[in-house]
């Protein structure tokens, strides 16, 4: 079997705060193959974004720290690299795009300047060559009149345009991995459709592997080949996309799918209650013993509150961390 492009092994990232220790990422493992799209799904505080920031070693220290685990990129452990070696990876081999395009783009530099920065740094292009490359990237991401817009500032672009500009920046050095952290959450649904379409086309053209972080299961169904479901700092289920939707194993995944209102299923005239998951996510500062989902789980047993279940294989490429499977 081909070695995965990126492999996260038993990652532990913690935040040492005044209120205590937050185990934001508590033993997370998953891998990304060349050209693959993995969807990482979960709600606020589950650790999906912190995992991504850990890959690029962008965790603010203090108060955060990667305390254990390995992140293997093409076989090399990123956590062993020196700062300058890591800088050669960021924006070049592994790129990231963020949720809020306005706050992620530098407001005092033009779009062209920000796109050109990456290629000048990593590929040593001259200013003129880099600007041409920036125009090329803007064309690639579908921004009309790119020769003009390349000189514009982020505030002169709409939300959808800014996200396209950010994608252009991230892909300018043709990275092998693109980490997309909730790239469409802040966008209107018709613009979201455009951006997802764009990402799919670019992936096809450039062969980029994508880690798509989102809370939207619809986006996951459209974009991902493999899905990783996270809850309170842990991976609770992992499976090929068809399996996650057709045969979800973990009660949290099941609960999530059942609680979604669906335009294709709900417009029946008959109003019915949604199947809700009671309670709220536990605080990362005060995690209960045993399975973190036990207090909200309709199928919880005594052992669930005492001991943590480990990920176990429940089908082909399908893993779930639940005592019900034992």
């Amino acid at each position: 079997m081909e070695q995965p492009l990126l492999e996260i092994q038993d990652l532990h990232t913690q935040f040492f705060t005044d209120d205590g220790l937050a185990r934001a990422v508590d033993g997370v493992s998953y891998s990304l193959a060349k050209g693959e799209t993995v969807g990482v799904v979960g709600e606020s505080g589950c650790g999906k974004s912190v995992t991504a920031l850990s890959i690029l070693r962008l965790i603010p220290n203090p108060p955060g720290r990667i305390v254990a685990g390995e992140i293997l990129f093409e076989g090399t452990n990123l956590l062993d690299l020196t700062p300058s070696e890591m800088r050669r990876i960021r924006g070049n081999d592994i790129s990231m795009i963020f949720q809020e395009p306005m706050t992620s783009l530098n407001p005092v530099f033009t779009i062209g300047n920000q796109i050109a920065e990456a290629v000048r740094l990593h590929q040593g292009l001259s200013r003129k060559e880099a600007l041409d490359k920036a125009v090329e990237m803007l064309t690639l991401v579908g921004i009309p009149v790119p020769e003009r817009r390349v000189h514009e500032y982020p505030h002169q672009l709409s939300g959808g345009m800014r996200q396209r500009a950010m994608i252009a920046m991230a892909l300018s050095c043709n990275p092998k991995v693109l980490i997309a952290d909730e790239p469409t959450t802040a966008l209107d649904v018709t613009i979201e459709a455009q951006i997802l379409d764009l990402m799919r086309n670019l992936q096809h053209e450039l062969g980029t592997a994508i880690i798509m972080i989102t809370h939207d299961l619809g986006v996951v169904a459209e974009m991902a080949r493999k899905v990783v479901v996270m809850y309170a700092g842990k991976v609770v289920e992992q499976a090929p996309v068809e399996q996650i939707f057709a045969e979800p194993n973990h009660p949290y995944t099941q609960g999530l799918l059942q609680s979604l209102p669906r335009v294709d299923k709900d417009a029946t005239g008959q109003k019915h209650r949604l199947q809700e998951i009671p309670g709220i996510v536990p605080s990362l500062l005060n995690l209960p013993p045993g399975c973190k989902f036990a207090s909200r789980c309709p199928k919880a047993m005594a052992i669930c509150e005492e001991e943590e279940p480990l990920l176990q294989q429940v089908g082909p490429n399908h893993y779930s961390a639940c005592w019900l499977n034992h």
Partner: protein
Amino acid sequence: MAAETLLEVKHLKKHFPIKGGIFSKTIGYVYAVDDISFTLHRGETLGLVGESGCGKSTTGRTILRLLEPTAGEVTFEGQEITQLNKSDMRALRREMQIIFQDPYASLNPRMTVGSIIGEPLEIHKIARGAEKEEQVASLLQKVGLRPEDMRKYPHEFSGGQRQRIGIARALGLNPKLIVCDEPVSALDVSIQAQVINLLGDLQEEFGLSYLFIAHNLNVVEHISNRVAVMYLGKIVELASDTDLYANPQHPYTEALLSAVPIPDPTVQKKRIILEGDVPSPINPPSGCHFHTRCPYKEQICEEVEPEFKNIGGGHWVACHLRT
């Protein structure tokens, strides 16, 4: 379901002046709400859906006169309300309440939950002292919180819990109409379901009518009996939830429905991808506001604004090609 009219909105407009220059002259307007009409029946949920800047939140606030309408009529239980004086309007506010989108900004952080929920009861002289506390306790229980919570402050609660507090506050006066302005958009998926169910239960128990404003079509379709689609200050289509989904008429509605990501990888959808961005409400396109992005646009669409017409079965649409 009773078809008795609770609220009637006629040709409502809300234009925000843009000031500029040294003397702060009015140099233009934001045509946020630009001539919309609809009715809301007693006990029904009317969904108002559209993307950012379409005017849906402004509509909700203008109906309640939290923003004063620029033009048009709003009739509540047969009474025209846009010209009422302050004290008459205040008395009417008991009947018309609002729940806001941001559970962090809509609760005063320096007031206890008990004060937040109890304040309307005091202002409208409904209850005081021990009686007020009793009612607040009862309201808290109705929304799934505990009476002891009334001594706590908003920051001690999660987003979903704060939204429940906002709902309890809106319920306190026993209103007939509640404008729900994106009440679940800021909440996690699993909490959204809880709050949506709560709103449905309360509607049944108290015979409430909702104007449910949201951009998430999945949520709107689930909770609404009828849905109005807004684009750049106008209502482009209005139909029952089943009709809107099964038989969308307006090209924008079609695009909107096709854009919603479906949580099912086996569903193959024909995606209608709209070109470009939404135009600015400061300078809306001529004729049909949607013509700049419409895949079926014809000459007349650029020149003449389409009328909002009833095409039968309570289904209204504003489009030259579909009426």
